[in-house]
Amino acid sequence: MMRALFAVAALLPTVLLLPAPAGAATSDPTAPDPTALINGAMQQWRGASSYTEVTMTVHRPDWERRLEVQAWTRGDDDSLVRFTAPPKDAGNATLMLGGSTWVFNPKINQVIQLPAGMMSQSWMGSDFSYDDLAKSTSLLTDYTHKLLSDEPADGHRVYTIEALPKADAPVVWGKQTVKVRDDRVLLQETFYDQDMKPVRELDTTRVAPLGGRVYPVEMTMKPLDQPNRWTRIVYTVGRFDLKLPDYLFTHSNLRNPRPWKLPPGTTP
């Protein structure tokens, strides 16, 4: 989900320098490399840079809220996410630079650096955590990958990959399982706790073209131990590999947004 988040926030950073296995798109009958599959999905998701607009629905037993978000990402680590609606939340923003996270709240008009210990807290009241936003490449770099199965579905092949954390990796999960489609679309990510019990799940519920690529445009994050709680993100606009000005990823832009317009180009 981090990716998810990522995706969510669409913070997708630069493509890792890994050679994109074209294999992602091909259906090579010999067993594909699981790490390459995950890397392919990540690249599909982010890009060297990205701009996305997302609608986030947070559902709770007693209420449901719809938030609108703009997100910019650059490389693996830098991202800016700003809420644009509803009015109560508009202007709240999160900036991630390198490994650090800052939060801006318009009501108190202050930028606050998030303490490292708070990264696992809920992000803006959703089922995503700040970690989900930040650890874009964790699934690739902190885990070892094993292909569990390879099944046909809806005219595609779906690969199920098990990711086990490396011995010294700073991760909270016991393991993850990831489903990736042969056209590099992430279909599902399941998070297990240290007792190997599944605790939450990110599901792709709709795949559609976005910004010139096949994209998981609707995803739902669900804690598995709490019924009737979930957060759904829907991508409404997505542009990838575009040139973003450096001022976007600064504290001053976090606090006082400078006007920025989507450069003309193909429609999202």
Partner: protein, 404 residues
């Protein structure tokens, strides 16, 4: 007649009897004191620790203990607090939530409590632990008191602003700027490092709680008094669709630590008991052997073995009874005196402080601490007295009379 015989036998050798009596009495007295000390310290740990923030019990939303989420709340806490008051307990509605506190470029995660200052003063130690500035007042607005280590970590002082950031009950961002009016130091690291309190009304507004509270902390004349009213509290809570939590449910770790300590000390007591019993048994056996000629004579005069054995065993019972009277009164006198004055263990100060204790220990006298030690020693001594008894039953009058 047996009784009179036994009594007289005891005092035919006053020095031996008094020595045995004193050693048994001393062992019993020590046991009374040790158990009293242990019970007292446990009681102190429980009530002092719970008194700092948790309260002696709490009423919480269902499932709050497992997952203390800001969206689980106690509706109309005022009405419930008044009903708890009719049980003779004090109740303090609180908001409770995790937040980021930030000052300048520094920020820390903290446990925030929204409190009613007047009610807190009756059940929490924090109002009296404020050592810089002051505690909250009922007319405070944007005010906050924070633990000393938290203040140090944030580099914030009394009079300075502090920013709060969290998630409100409705999922929106909870943000506020408060002024630090006081810094408290309870001596408990975890609390001084993590806790901060602000007025409940402010907490409710910031966290979109409306008139709800997160929980109700409960105090009373003593932890035991609150424990006794637990059934009533649980009933009250159930009727409102809530849960009542006893102190040991709020702090299972504390209870486990106490249980662990108690089970370890059982070994110490068992060792002490064994040593004492062997010493006493040795003395008794010597006493019986010493009197072999005398027993032979009595048997030769026609006394039955059973009668003689019973007399000797009764001597032992009398000895134990006298020792118990002496040991228990001596031990409890010391315990009672120290319960009033406290007992300081050199070097234990910091250790105790971190467990919510003052530097002094106050032993407690109750039926358990008074009776357990003497009962164990008395029973063991009387059982081991069967040994001389059996020996007497096997005595031959003639050879016994010849024994040296």
């Amino acid at each position: 007649m047996i009784l009179r015989l036994a009594w007289r036998n005891l005092w035919r050798q006053p020095r031996r009897t008094i020595l045995s009596l004193l050693s048994i009495a001393f062992a019993m007295g020590v046991m009374v004191w040790l158990l009293g000390l242990q019970q007292g310290v446990y009681g102190q740990m429980e009530s002092n620790f719970m008194r700092i923030v948790q309260g002696y019990a709490q009423i919480q939303p269902r499932g709050y203990a497992d997952d203390p989420d800001i969206d689980k709340t106690v509706p109309r806490p005022g009405a419930l607090a008044r009903r708890i008051g009719t049980l003779g307990l004090t109740a303090s509605p609180r908001g409770s939530g995790y937040a980021i506190l930030s000052s300048g470029t520094r920020s820390r995660g903290a446990m925030l409590l929204g409190v009613v200052p007047a009610a807190e003063a009756r059940l929490s130690a924090i109002p009296t632990a404020v050592h810089e500035g002051r505690y909250l007042r009922d007319d405070d607005g944007a005010a906050i008191v924070i633990g000393k280590s938290l203040a140090d970590n944030l580099h914030v002082q009394v009079g300075q602003p502090l920013t709060l950031l969290s998630t409100a009950k409705d999922g929106s961002v909870a943000a506020d700027v408060l002024t630090v009016v006081g810094v408290f130091a309870t001596g408990i690291g975890e609390i001084d490092r993590q806790f901060a309190e602000l007025p409940l009304s402010r907490f409710q507004a910031t966290f979109a709680l409306g008139g709800d509270a997160s929980l109700i902390a409960i105090g009373g004349p003593s932890l035991k008094a609150v424990d006794r009213r637990l059934p009533a509290l649980r009933k009250l809570a159930r009727a409102a669709g809530l849960d009542a939590q006893a102190w040991y449910e709020l702090e299972p770790g504390l209870q486990q630590a106490i249980h662990l300590d108690a089970s370890i000390s059982v070994f110490w007591y068992a060792t002490l008991l064994l040593v004492v019993v062997f010493i006493i048994l040795n003395a008794l056996l010597m006493a019986v052997l010493e009197r072999t000629r005398e027993f032979g004579m009595v048997l030769a005069l026609g006394a039955r073995h059973g009668l003689l054995g019973r007399v000797v065993w009764l001597e032992l019972v009398l000895l134990v009874a006298m020792s118990a009277a002496l040991g228990m009164s001596g031990g409890s006198a010391v315990v009672l005196w120290q319960a009033g004055h406290g007992f300081a263990l050199p070097g234990g100060d910091a250790l105790f402080r971190n467990r919510g204790l003052s530097g002094k220990m106050y032993p407690a006298l109750n039926a358990f601490s008074l009776l357990t030690g003497p009962a164990a020693i008395g029973t063991s001594v009387m059982l081991s007295g069967l040994f001389p008894y059996l020996r007497i039953r096997r005595l031959e009058p003639v050879s016994a009379m010849r024994a040296v």
